[in-house]
């Protein structure tokens, strides 16, 4: 027997769960103060998450997918990107969308059941939330192909969950991306749960990152609760992509602390104890401890931050709740670039139903 190939998956962590560096930090993290925007974004994501759930529970928001406990994944990946890169999120990347400039009120509008929430003011080229799992991975290949064809040093960054890596679209995407060497990064937010199906039941693969190997592209694992590790891993992948060296898969290991969505009850399939143990690896105190010990963060800073974030969220909620629904005929207005003659009659009928809302 001859060994024809050999592979390994590397795992990266910079801060241990207690917030202590495990070794030399990457350049961007050398100055602790430079990490404050990441900390701020993680806190904002968590507070927004809590508010969204509260709004849903009181009937003022639709079904919402929480990212509780996974803030380092979404903030880490977004902070590694450039503004002109393209984000192709699934439905659990609120923090990445916020970091890139999508408005709090726009996100509320989307989750509140209004298409206008996906017509965000910026960044205009980012994709909206993709609900069918793994489907957005293929879009990232097409976006990356367009960038490459147009000789742009931009990258398509797509995010999917652990469950999505079982889907054919994921495999087809990483295979195509590898074959064409497109500038794309596939971030797998491995939160260990696909609704009720745990990671161990999802696949016999030892890691999800190794799926990249079959596609002929690099696959790496990072501690998804260490924002420095996520940012570093994604930044490395972005660098490769921008240099024309093709796509990568970055598997971020984290844990879904919440229900799958507000429509789910995770107590049906996992114990409260198993979840509560995971608070020891919470990404937010981890970075806070590091910042405090580095002398870059104080109790007063924390209080000021929370006050500021609460103010921003409250103002966004107010704007969201004041936003009137679109008129019924609006469902026709972006179906095609122009309203087809064949739909004029139906549109008129919808317009005439205005005011029937509460009939």
């Amino acid at each position: 027997m001859t060994k024809v190939a050999e592979f390994a998956i590397e795992y990266t962590q910079f801060l241990d769960p207690s917030g202590r560096p495990t070794g030399r930090l990457p350049d961007f993290a050398r100055d602790a103060a430079a990490l404050i925007p990441l900390y701020r974004a993680m806190v904002l994501t968590r507070r927004f998450d809590a508010k969204a759930i509260a709004l849903q529970r009181t009937g003022r928001l639709g079904t919402f997918a929480s990212s509780l406990g996974q803030e380092a994944v979404v903030v880490g990946l977004a902070s590694a990107m450039r503004t002109d890169d393209v984000l192709l999120p699934s439905y659990r990347e609120t923090g990445a969308q916020l970091y890139r400039g999508v408005g709090l009120d726009e996100l509320l509008l989307y989750w509140g059941g209004d298409e206008r929430g996906s017509d965000f003011a910026g960044p205009k080229h980012d994709f909206p939330v993709s609900v069918p799992v793994a489907s957005q991975c293929l879009h990232a290949v097409g976006v990356g192909y367009a960038m490459k064809l147009q000789r742009e040093a931009r990258v398509a960054v797509c995010v999917c969950g652990d469950g999505a890596t079982s889907n054919g679209a994921f495999y087809e995407a990483i295979n195509c991306a590898g074959a064409w060497r497109v500038p794309a990064v596939f971030v797998v937010n491995n939160n260990q749960w696909a609704i009720s199906v745990p990671r161990t039941v999802q696949t016999a693969a030892e890691t999800l990152a190794q799926k990249a190997i079959a596609a002929g592209i690099p696959g790496l694992q990072v501690d998804g609760n260490d924002v420095i590790a996520v940012r570093h891993g994604v930044a490395q992948a972005l660098l490769r992509a921008r240099a024309g060296d093709g796509p990568s898969v970055v598997e971020a290991l984290t844990y879904r602390m919440s229900d799958h969505t507000t429509a789910d009850d995770a107590s049906r399939y996992r114990s409260a104890e198993a979840v509560s143990e995971r608070w020891a690896t919470d990404p937010i105190p981890r970075l806070r401890t590091y910042l405090v010990e580095a002398g870059a963060w104080t109790k007063a800073d924390e209080e000021r931050l929370v006050e500021e974030i609460n103010g921003d969220i409250d103002a966004a909620v107010e704007r969201y709740l004041k936003t009137q629904p679109q008129p019924p005929e609006a469902m026709f207005d972006y179906l095609y670039a122009e309203l087809p003659r064949a739909l004029a009659e139906q549109r008129a009928a919808a317009a005439a139903s205005r005011g029937d809302d509460h009939a």
């Binding site: 298409e115 489907s135 290949v141 192909y145 367009a146 003659r341 064949a342």
Partner: protein, 326 residues
């Protein structure tokens, strides 16, 4: 003016679109070096290069999904699915994304892509190579569904589909890919995507069809003419969005109508046309509507296929029933 077949007209339109707009890219299985299994993309690789004429991995879902991403990012992909029988894996991307990207972002992003596929039976091919699934696509909001039936219409409609700012499913009847040659001017003139084509004017009965069945339907009209019956033949061409006006005007004139399609009877697009006539033209009918369609069976393998396909005889029988009704 060159004389070309329907598939030749497809190639001509693709080349024209690629020459006039550098955002147009062609992708699919074997479309590059091989020029497509039906040679629809013959010569494009040599002329436009491998960056714009892309041999894809053998994955239909990817072909559709990658096209969505390309389209949203500013390209105009024209993707080929090798046979419409292999289009089913691609439907997820067509329905879940291509058709709704503009709507769900309120116009911030859009999806100007064309998904081409040879369709229909009668080419003595193996299983899964003879599907007529146009009604599935015509049911889905946000799409356009187009089926040409002649070289001239293939050229003009495909150019229109590529220039259209929204997704178009472009189904090409493989049975008539090389059935006739026609003079087609490579003048870049597109045909409208919102009208049916009246191929033959008549007073006594309206025969409505599309795609390869236009051939048998025109033959039936010719036979009827010899019997002093004047049949009007309409090629629907664009199933979605449907030009109901042309159909209603014809039925109002003739009072009798036969709808012909190769796809299975139940839920075929003929049902939609029949319903439109029932809604808006019922009182102009002087006889019950007739539908001549494929049976509600799995399309048989080649040895039985000719029994499945609506024949000129079946069309004539239906037309005569309609004409005899008093």
């Amino acid at each position: 003016m060159p004389e070309v077949t329907l598939v030749g007209a497809v190639t001509m339109a693709l080349a024209r679109a690629m020459a006039e707009d550098e955002r147009v890219v062609v992708l699919g299985e074997d479309v590059g070096v091989n020029g497509g299994v039906f040679r629809a993309t013959q010569g494009l690789l040599e002329r436009f290069g491998r960056e714009r004429v892309i041999d894809t991995p053998l994955a239909e879902l990817a072909i559709a999904g990658v096209s969505v991403g390309m389209a949203a990012a500013g390209l105009k992909p024209v993707a080929e699915i090798q046979f419409s029988g292999f289009i089913y894996p691609a439907i997820d991307q067509v329905v879940s994304h291509a058709s709704r990207l503009r709507n769900r972002t309120r116009g911030r992003l859009s999806c100007p892509m064309v998904l081409r596929a040879p369709c229909g039976g009668g080419i003595h091919a193996p299983e899964h190579h003879g599907e007529s699934n146009e009604a599935m696509f015509a049911h889905m909001p946000g799409l356009r569904v187009v089926i040409p039936s002649s070289p001239q219409r293939a050229y003009g409609l495909l150019l229109a589909a590529i220039r259209d700012p929204d997704p178009v499913i472009f189904l090409e009847p493989a049975r008539i890919y090389r059935a006739v040659k026609q003079e087609v001017a490579d003048d870049g003139e597109a045909l409208p995507l919102d009208t049916c084509f009246v191929l033959r004017e008549g007073r006594d009965v309206t025969l409505i069809t599309w795609g390869a069945m236009v051939k048998e339907t025109l033959a039936a009209a010719e036979t009827l003419a010899a019997e002093a019956v004047s049949a009007e033949v309409i090629d629907v061409a664009t199933l979605k969005l449907l030009d109901t006006d042309t159909i209603l005007a014809s039925v109002e004139k003739t009072g009798r109508c036969v709808i012909v399609h190769e796809a299975a009877h139940t839920g075929g697009f003929g049902a939609e046309i029949a319903a439109r006539i029932a809604e808006k033209g019922l009182l102009s009918l002087q006889a019950p509507l007739e539908r001549v369609a494929g049976y509600d069976t799995i399309p048989p393998l080649p040895r039985l296929e000719h029994h499945y396909m609506p024949s000129e005889a079946r069309i004539l029988a239906a037309a005569r029933r309609a004409l005899a009704f008093a």
